[in-house]
Amino acid sequence: MTQDIARPKVAVWKFASCDGCQLSLLSAEDELLAIADEVQIAYFLEATREVVEGPYDLSLVEGSITTPDDAERIRHVREISTTLITIGACATAGGIQALRNFGDMDEFRSLVYAQPQYVASLADSTAVAEHVSVDLELRGCPIETSQLVEVINAILAGRKPVTPTHSVCVECKLRGNICVTVAHGTPCLGPVTQAGCGARCPAYDRGCYGCFGPAESPNPRSLSDWLEEQFGVDHPELLRLYRTFNADAPAFRSESRRHEEVAP
């Protein structure tokens, strides 16, 4: 930090993504103006044309790395940032677009574009942490605004942010949800998914679909075996269950690969 110690410089960066995670900052309706008073929004293209030159005290990074140019750009962002936080499933695990990591890139390209030779893409969609060091990951597809506000608060106060790494099951218990799997046989990734959303899906009678990615020390194999034995969930369905917005997070990736091998 050089000039403006009282107001840290914050930058918001976008890579391959839907804009939803950075929108979460604009959706902090009750906190946005207070945050803007406490920090200098130095680079946030979705919100303002004003660009204050780096280096930046805090960079929030949305999106996955999918092109050669972006692989360069994320290194530059790291160089000019004191603290770098990835926001959301794309930046922390490659996002939904990482489904292509399981397929054939040339085929994908020619399916979508009439002139595939004009398109430059890396074969894989990868997490930011595979390219540069990351100081903190905020999970979710999208992230929760409350967690983003907590992280900004913590950084302003110079303390460690409170972002739990236990599973969604704990949140269901806290919220008083009836277990959708035990009560209705609905496949649910809650036991292996990181908390943070407040168990939104089970609260709406739906199984968790894992948008916060794997919890700390998950055991997806055990969950799959149990869903298969107790409720007859088959391999193709289990494969799909792990292969969505955090498909390339290691614990989900290896589990979906296992079902790919045994699927008929």
């Binding site: 976008k14 890579f15 391959a16 993504s17 839907c18 804009d19 939803g20 995670c21 929108l23 979460s24 604009l26 959706s27 309706e29 009750d30 946005l32 103006l33 803007a36 929004i41 946030f44 293209l45 979705e46 919100a47 303002t48 044309r49 004003e50 999918t66 092109t67 140019d69 972006d70 996002g95 939904i96 677009q97 489904l99 397929g103 085929e107 994908f108 390209r109 399916l111 979508v112 574009y113 009439a114 002139q115 004009y118 398109v119 430059a120 893409s121 969609s125 597809c141 999208p142 939104r200 899906c201 609260a203 709406y204 009678d205 739906r206 679909y209 948008c211 799909r240 969505t244 917005f245």
Partner: protein, 449 residues
């Protein structure tokens, strides 16, 4: 002034858009030679990664194309998929009879997205151009109350999205067949007081933005929008196009959504950017608030029509800069419609109708805040996606945006670089382009002279 002759205006990173784009204008000998809106968002290949997925999955997967209008993706996908589904034992060959309550909730959810998206665009992305600020945060220094009002209006839109959708961004409660859990009447009624406040605030906003100074630009684009059959909505609904309707145009087109491929296609141009939408006869066209309003103003309730009239916004509106006024009027409408739907809401007997797929090709279109969003899916007999096509509003509008830039720059060559650049950016923002939405993104790898 020499700079009217040879100039190159480039904005490498456009601000206040959803997504990433750049603009290039080439002027040679006092003539605008070339205008390009480059969309350099990296491609994410949604249509390819949908192949082989289960037919119930596109609403959740395609929502991730855009964090600003996920409901549009969910409901266009659902319209397309449900056209290929039947309720077992219904005796129908194709299509599902949805309970009124589910149809009410879907339109209500969509109203919430219009409120959230339109308020974001009108106040936080576009108004700063008219008032001379770099962005809404800078604008808040002088107009704190205005920005606070906008945030409070967005909040009620987001709260309505949360109650029905379970989450404001990428709702979790929406599914083929209906919802996972239908909200109770009391949950919706709890929002009525704040919505009523927001309706008044939106009316004030219409009067405010109508008083802005609009750069001169009249464009004769062909307008394309949905138009529902009168009285075809669920109880409480009026008939301005949101989640249903035929496709009509200002040049006399009037077709059911399933005829879309016969009339529209997308081109992949070598100079980069998203695929460009074209009509089959080669013409460019425009979707979004201007098209909706010009083709459906008769569908607005009389008090909102009177408000539009009072501020001098009468169809046809042909100056794209005035789209901000239409967006504000549509915000009043979306809040007003939400209040009507809540008053008439009867929770459905089941939260979702059980459906099974029939092999075939299904089409669906809805009015995303920024214009028609079309989905097409081919589904196999065992319920998998064999093929998917998504045509988002921004790729349809891209030719119109480039035409506006060309026209505007030609007429304003005497402006200095900085004001001209800003006015061009403002012209792009007229279309609220959601570049993340453009689905088909290309890197610039081939330069065209």
């Amino acid at each position: 002034m020499s700079h009217t002759h040879d100039r190159r205006i480039s904005v490498e990173a456009l601000a206040r858009l959803e997504g990433e784009g750049a603009m290039h204008v080439q002027v040679t000998d006092g003539r605008v030679e070339h205008v390009e809106l480059n969309i350099y968002e990296p491609p994410r290949y949604f249509e390819a990664l949908l192949r082989g997925r289960h037919f119930l999955e596109p609403p959740d997967i395609t929502a991730r194309i855009c964090g600003i209008c996920p409901v549009a993706y969910q409901l266009s996908a659902i319209n397309a998929i449900e056209s290929l589904c039947v309720e077992p034992g219904s005796g129908r060959e194709r299509g599902v009879q949805m309970p009124d309550g589910i149809r009410q909730l879907r339109r209500l959810l969509y109203c919430a997205e219009w409120i959230e998206s339109h308020v974001l665009h009108v106040f936080m992305l576009h108004a700063p151009d008219f008032l001379g600020y770099q962005g809404s945060i800078e604008m808040a220094a002088d107009h704190r109350e205005l920005v606070e009002t906008a945030l409070r209006m967005r909040k009620i839109g987001n709260q309505l999205l949360e109650v029905i959708g379970g989450r404001a961004i990428h709702p979790i409660n929406v599914r083929v067949g209906g919802f996972h859990r239908a909200p109770r009447r009391e949950q919706l009624e709890a929002l009525v007081e704040e919505l009523t406040w927001a309706r008044d605030a939106a009316i004030d906003a219409v009067r405010l933005v109508a008083g802005f100074t609009f750069p001169h630009l009249e464009q004769a684009h062909t307008h394309v929008a949905l138009r529902p059959e009168a009285g075809s909505g669920p109880p409480g609904a009026s008939d301005y196009p949101i989640e249903r309707g035929r496709v009509i145009s200002s040049s006399g087109l009037d077709i059911p959504v399933e005829d879309w491929p016969e009339h529209f296609h997308e081109e992949h141009l070598p100079h980069s950017t998203a695929l460009h939408g074209r009509m089959r006869d080669g013409g460019t066209y425009l979707v979004g608030p201007l098209a909706r309003f010009n083709l459906n103003a008769d569908r607005l309730p009389s008090d909102i029509a009177a408000l539009a009239d009072e501020v001098g916004c009468t169809p046809p509106v042909t100056n794209p800069y005035r789209s901000i006024v239409v967006r504000a009027i549509e915000t009043v409408y979306a809040i007003d419609e939400a209040l009507r739907l809540i008053a008439a809401y009867v929770p459905p007997p089941v939260s979702a109708v059980e459906v099974v797929p029939v092999a075939g090709i299904g089409h669906g279109a809805t009015e995303a805040p920024r214009g028609i969003l079309y989905h097409r899916y081919e589904i196999t007999a065992d319920g998998h996606i064999a093929d998917g096509v998504i045509v988002p509003p921004t790729s349809q509008n891209q030719p119109a945006i480039e035409a506006d830039l060309l026209e505007f720059v030609q007429a304003n060559l005497d402006l200095g670089d900085e004001p001209l650049q800003w006015a061009c950016e403002q012209a792009i923002r007229n279309y609220d382009p959601c570049i993340s939405c453009s689905t088909h993104f290309l890197d610039l790898t081939v330069e065209r002279r």
